[in-house]
């Protein structure tokens, strides 16, 4: 177990870096509102697949990077992602046996929690949204979940990350 744990850090790390890039690629108009929460998706996957390796500490670090990239208040994404990881770890045994549709529904719920927490903190900051459009990423995150799941699962098996 101890030997196995050392495997494939770089796979996890590069999946997070890719999520960062996708999260800040400039989009305009409606596409910007629809952008899925890539980082949350990747984090949920690893939290379900490797709950003994990816947990709160990872979520906090990833969130810190996202806060800086986004220009958000430091702690906003940290808090939201920590909550998402906490919930996914509570649910991971059930999530593993869910069908993809049920999983997507759960992801919709988790991404919604993420968006709400971010929105609360932005409102405290004075940059709150004026409409409910900020919830759209919850829907698109659920739609993109199967893609993330299949891609990361393949990467995990191919590079034998355990």
């Amino acid at each position: 177990m101890v030997e196995q744990q050392a495997r494939g850090y770089w796979v996890i790390l590069s999946s997070f870096l890719l999520a960062y890039v996708l999260a800040i690629v400039p989009l305009t108009g409606l596409a910007a509102w629809l952008r899925p929460e890539w980082l949350a998706l990747v984090l949920i996957y690893w939290a379900i697949a490797l709950p003994y390796r990816v947990g709160l500490a990872t979520a906090m670090l990833a969130g810190l990077g996202m806060d800086v990239l986004e220009g958000a208040v430091i702690g906003q994404n940290m808090l939201a992602l920590a909550l998402v990881v906490l919930l996914s770890r509570l649910l991971y045994q059930r999530l593993r046996v869910f069908s993809i549709g049920q999983q997507a529904l759960t992801v919709f719920f988790l991404a919604g929690v993420h968006q709400l927490v971010c929105q609360w903190i932005q409102t405290v900051e004075g940059a709150g949204a004026r409409s409910l459009w900020f919830m759209l990423p919850a829907i698109t995150s659920a739609v993109f979940w199967p893609l993330v799941l299949v891609t990361l699962r393949r990467a995990r098996r191919h590079f034998e990350v355990y």
């Binding site: 220009g71 208040v73 932005q122 900020f134």
Partner: protein
């Protein structure tokens, strides 16, 4: 878990209330520049195509257009020289020091905030080019915003339309002062707390007033697009459209106000 909550809330408060994390943020920003660079690749390819794969005729057309524009601008500049001399003489008569022209630094936009409610830009100039927090940013048409965070090679700019930004303005026509606040929508500023009887009308140009001692005086900010006077309300509802091309500008100008902004503005106010 309790510890996690404590740390996060501590960071939130430290950043939000006391702005204590500037240095750490700037350091992390520098560390994460590669992510920005990679995210910029699609746009970079677009720029490369624009530069290398253009037809001769479109280039010639561009060239013609620019020469014409250049001729017109140069023509206007001829008068500018004599007007400036005139202005300096008159100001000397009024015993106030001459207004100096501000220095500018051209910067390139290398990133935009991914969240559509957050209006921030990332520029390719930072502390190593003497950019400072609070520095005003303009484009060819008007005021864009101000620098809020400087790291070694990049800086982050808050646009005037961000919901957390306000800029002191005055109506160019009659000098009525007001504050233009961002709304989170890229083509809309709102002017709050202007009495319903104030002389302000559609089409009025709002320029920076220099009050608040952050922005130099006289840069165009927005044009008033709607004035609604409801007899039941104490204040008029005023909307304005920003003059600068906030969502299109690729190259922008960082303004170095000569000397103390407050002093120069006070002089300008006293003279005008």
């Amino acid at each position: 878990m309790g510890l996690v909550a404590l740390v996060v809330v501590g960071l939130l408060v430290a950043d939000l209330r006391y702005s204590q994390l500037g240095t750490a943020r700037a350091f992390l920003d520098t560390l994460l520049i590669p992510v920005h660079t990679v995210a910029d690749i699609p746009a970079a390819i677009g720029r490369w195509q624009e530069r290398h794969l253009r037809s001769r005729s479109s280039l010639m057309e561009d060239n013609d257009h620019l020469s014409r524009e250049n001729l017109v601008l140069k023509g206007r500049l001829q008068q500018m020289a004599s007007l400036q001399a005139n202005n300096a003489r008159l100001r000397a008569l009024l015993n106030s020091s001459a207004l100096l022209r501000d220095d500018v630094l051209v910067a390139e936009v290398i990133g935009v905030a991914p969240d559509p409610v957050r209006h921030q830009l990332l520029l390719d100039k930072g502390g190593s080019d003497d950019v400072y927090a609070g520095q005003p940013l303009i484009d060819a048409d008007g005021l864009m915003g101000q620098v809020i965070e400087v790291s070694e090679f990049t800086s982050r700019v808050l646009l005037i339309t961000d919901a957390t930004h306000s800029v002191p303005v005055q109506v160019n026509r009659n000098g009525v002062r007001a504050v233009a606040e961002g709304t989170g929508s890229l083509d809309l500023l709102e002017v709050h707390h202007v009495a319903a009887t104030t002389d302000i009308a559609e089409g009025d140009l709002l320029v920076t007033s220099g009050l608040g001692q952050r922005f130099p005086i006289g840069y165009p900010v927005a044009t008033v697009t709607r004035v609604e006077r409801d007899p039941g309300q104490a204040f008029a509802r005023i909307e304005a459209r920003p003059a600068a091309a906030l969502d299109r500008a690729r190259h922008v100008l960082l303004v170095f106000a000569r000397g103390d902004v407050a002093e120069v503005n006070a002089e300008a106010g006293a003279g005008g």
